[in-house]
Point group: C2
Chain length 201, copies 2
């Protein structure tokens, strides 16, 4: 009996994941309001009504995706900061991994697009805005700290660290968007171009 309940729960979770992953691509491409429940159900190969056995509303699906996007990003930042490496190496590693991510994991660029849509759009539920407000500064803070450390170390250029952190993330986000928008045609730029923005030669 308990076995059965566990198995059911597992199947339920898997189905939820499947719906979420289809919804991610749709939300990223069309935004929250232009994505219909029928789009999501069709992409998942199930009837429209069945969606509501797994989620309470379209907004709930959106909210879960946004939460997990920030969770992934902020976890990665936390781990980067804790690595036992000098700031200079952290910056190089971050840029290389982020650029690599665009090519290797297809979902990555969709997440960038999703977060962007949600950050920018006024047409998202309040709870989602709250998640964004609470979580979106963290990557900037981490990068600013690393850059300041790097300036003490002497490896990072002597511009305002906050400015450098802003340039760091806007460039990464911009590239993620480019990839999402142009798909096949997109080619990551030479990482040395980006590394050179922050590090002295």
């Amino acid at each position: 009996m308990a076995r059965n309940r566990e198995l059911n729960q597992k199947m339920r979770d898997e189905r939820r994941e499947q719906i979420l992953s289809n919804a991610l691509i749709l939300f990223a491409a069309k935004g929250l309001s232009a994505t219909k429940i029928t789009d999501i159900s069709a992409a998942s190969g199930i009837s429209q009504g069945l969606i509501y056995h797994y989620f309470q509303s379209k907004e709930e699906i959106f909210r879960e995706l946004i939460s997990s996007a920030f969770e992934k990003m902020n976890t990665a930042c936390r781990e980067l900061e804790k690595l036992p490496l000098p700031p200079r190496e952290k910056i190089i590693l971050a840029i290389e991994k982020l650029l690599e991510g665009f090519d290797v994991y297809e979902n990555t660029s969709y997440y960038y697009l999703l977060i962007l849509q949600a950050t920018v759009s006024e047409a998202v539920p309040q709870e989602v805005k709250d998640i964004i407000r609470n979580q979106s500064d963290f990557p900037y803070e981490v990068m600013e700290r690393i850059l300041i450390e790097g300036q003490k170390e002497g490896s990072v250029r002597a511009y305002d660290a906050r400015d450098l952190a802003v340039v760091f993330w806007t460039t990464i986000k911009g590239l993620g968007l480019n990839k999402a928008a142009h798909g096949e045609r997109f080619k990551s730029p030479d990482p040395r171009i980006l590394i050179n923005i922050f590090l002295k030669e």
Copy 2:
């Protein structure tokens, strides 16, 4: 009689402009599909039905805004390229003017957001997609040509010029988005950070 017709036409055009400028802000913030005709009419202080005396549909408003956004951007690029300046100076000028634009003209960042929404979204009419496909490469091409000239001149770093052009525009677009998303809190970074990406010291 002709006087009257001219005057009427002028008033009509002015009203259209006023509707367009309100719609720009709404579309940029919420996207095409989440922006309701009533949002636009309310922002313009007129009844919902009256919108249809000036435009055939919500999509037509969107299309006009996209057209004029690309027109402005591509005209600016064409003029930049024609300036009687060495490549090095063109790059510095472009970065300074683009960053300045964020602070001086409020509308600029909304246009970036609008173009981004339209480029990325599958939920836009076919005609809009066609405009985007035909117009969106031009700024990249211009910048690539300027960068190549600069490499011949010896002032521009020796990375792949296409990569540099991509980094140029993704960084600018990213900053435009930041400004649009964070409004008040946004502060343009030191232009020298960006100039240094492209030019040798």
